[in-house]
């Protein structure tokens, strides 16, 4: 799919061009609206990283990382104060998506599934210590926390229970977001893709 992309753009470079300073806020906006829409449809996923995925695909890992970071900081200063803590996770998601996309992991359906698994594992690995520090290992999602309670009740270590709690919630979300982002990227006109490639 990303054959539309241009391989001559350096991966780890970003300039604050007009394309960048409009792509990043738009990515944050997409995260917000996608999350609101998923909540409206009562879907069992958040979709709150769709914009970060698209920013990474269009602008590279750094654009994705900045989008993820900005998203969590703005969220924490407007709607949900504890979101700021998870800005590290969002940075990691942005970097991973950008890197995997550049390596061609979003080319086929099987590759996208594999990419989503990698992203979910990374997201859960980074979020788990944060969940333990701030929430004793829970995530705040009732069915995930039920699994956490059952595992801890059966003498599993807290970090294993917390990781599984987080991973279970992340995996479905990241699979849906990865396929959706790849589909949207494929629908974008070439002029738009070329324009945002200027980010790098």
């Amino acid at each position: 799919m990303q054959n539309k992309s241009t391989s001559h753009h350096p991966l780890w470079k970003i300039t604050l061009s007009p394309a960048t300073i409009t792509l990043i806020p738009v990515a944050v906006g997409i995260n917000y609206v996608a999350k609101a829409f998923a909540e409206g449809l009562k879907l069992p996923v958040w979709l709150g990283s769709l914009g970060t995925f698209l920013a990474s695909m269009l602008g590279g890992p750094l654009a994705g990382a900045i989008s993820g970071f900005t998203n969590n900081i703005i969220y924490s200063l407007t709607l949900s104060p504890m979101s700021g803590v998870y800005s590290i996770t969002s940075i990691a998601i942005g970097l991973t998506v950008g890197l995997l996309f550049a390596r061609g992991w979003f080319k086929t359906k099987k590759c996208i599934l594999l990419a989503a698994l990698v992203i979910a594992v990374i997201s859960a690995v980074i979020s788990t210590p944060l969940n333990i520090i701030f929430y004793g290992g829970q995530t705040g999602i009732v069915w995930g926390d039920t699994v956490f309670a059952l595992l801890v009740g059966h003498h599993f270590p807290v970090w294993v229970a917390s990781f599984l709690d987080e991973f279970m919630l992340d995996i479905l979300d990241k699979i849906v977001v990865a396929y959706l982002a790849a589909f949207i990227y494929h629908q974008l006109p070439q002029r738009l893709i070329s324009f945002f490639k200027k980010v790098r």
């Binding site: 604050l16 061009s17 007009p18 394309a19 960048t20 300073i21 409009t22 792509l23 990043i24 806020p25 738009v26 944050v28 906006g29 997409i30 917000y32 609206v33 996608a34 609101a36 829409f37 449809l41 009562k42 879907l43 069992p44 979709l47 769709l50 698209l54 269009l58 900005t70 703005i74 924490s76 200063l77 407007t78 949900s80 104060p81 504890m82 700021g84 701030f134 929430y135 004793g136 829970q138 705040g140 009732v142 926390d145 956490f148 309670a149 801890v152 009740g153 003498h155 807290v158 849906v176 959706l180 589909f183 949207i184 629908q187 974008l188 006109p189 002029r191 738009l192 324009f195 945002f196």
Partner: protein, 251 residues
């Protein structure tokens, strides 16, 4: 000239440093009682600002979360051994409940200090102050433009939803159908938003948004001891961070 309220006398950076400082303090204070006393003081401060509906909204999720933590930790915390109370077949233990209350007090400290920032600082005030502190306009613009893009995106979402409803795409109960709904609504919205972003980027370039001659906008308020507050809070943050590291090493 209008009289400033007490919270308008503090600049946005002081408020942000205060969030970090009090958040760290709640992690250093080992006593449950002092932590909840801090929460109580912050709660009184939050009430004094007004905006009670926003306060209730922001606290409701945290309080629900604390309730689930008390249940889960009270029941299954690995350190549990002193029975506190029993409800039917469920045994709640003191150690788990205390641990959940400690975590809860830290959570509320962060939430209430952040509420103080949210309720007392406007986007314009933030932007002007950050620019006056020497942060490049490009970065400030990137940060604040989200606040202007969101209403536009929500309006687009509403428009697309209406159009799709008119074509007969409604809400159904099955999850599969609801997942399918993402495509006719979310995909056009994202494509349209990216297209508008491209137009905005071109307009920005044409208007010379990064003109080096640009003068920052004047500040909205005259802030009280801004520089002194920054130094004082920064020193406190370093000290609290050091204390936390020391406490961890002592363990």
């Amino acid at each position: 000239m209008t009289t400033l309220t007490w919270f308008q006398r503090f600049d946005p950076v002081t408020k942000l440093l205060l969030i970090l400082c009090l958040g760290l303090a709640s992690f250093v204070i080992p006593t449950l009682t002092i932590n909840w006393l801090l929460v109580f003081i912050l709660f009184l401060l939050a009430i004094s600002i007004g905006k009670l509906s926003s306060l209730v909204k922001i606290l409701s999720f945290s309080l629900f979360f604390i309730a689930t933590m008390i249940i889960v930790q009270g029941l299954v915390n690995p350190g549990n051994h002193t029975l506190l109370w029993r409800i039917e077949i469920l045994n709640f233990y003191k150690e788990g409940v205390n641990y959940a209350l400690l975590l809860g007090s830290r959570l509320l400290t962060i939430v209430l200090t952040t509420f103080f920032f949210i309720a007392t600082t406007s986007v314009t005030e933030n932007a002007r102050y950050l620019e006056s502190q020497g942060i490049a306009f490009k970065k400030v613009y990137m940060f604040i433009s989200v606040c202007y893009i969101l209403p536009q995106m929500m309006a687009n979402l509403h428009q697309i939803k209406l159009a799709q409803r008119a074509r007969g795409i409604g809400q159904q109960k099955s999850w599969l159908y609801r997942f399918k709904m993402l495509f006719p609504i979310l995909v056009p919205l994202v494509v349209k938003t990216l297209d508008q972003a491209m137009t905005r980027a071109i307009a920005l370039q044409l208007r010379e948004y990064d003109n080096p001659q640009r003068q920052p906008q004047p500040l909205i308020h005259h802030y009280l001891l801004a520089r002194f507050n920054h130094y004082l809070l920064s020193i406190l943050i370093i000290m609290l961070g050091g204390m936390k590291v020391w406490l961890l090493i002592q363990k």
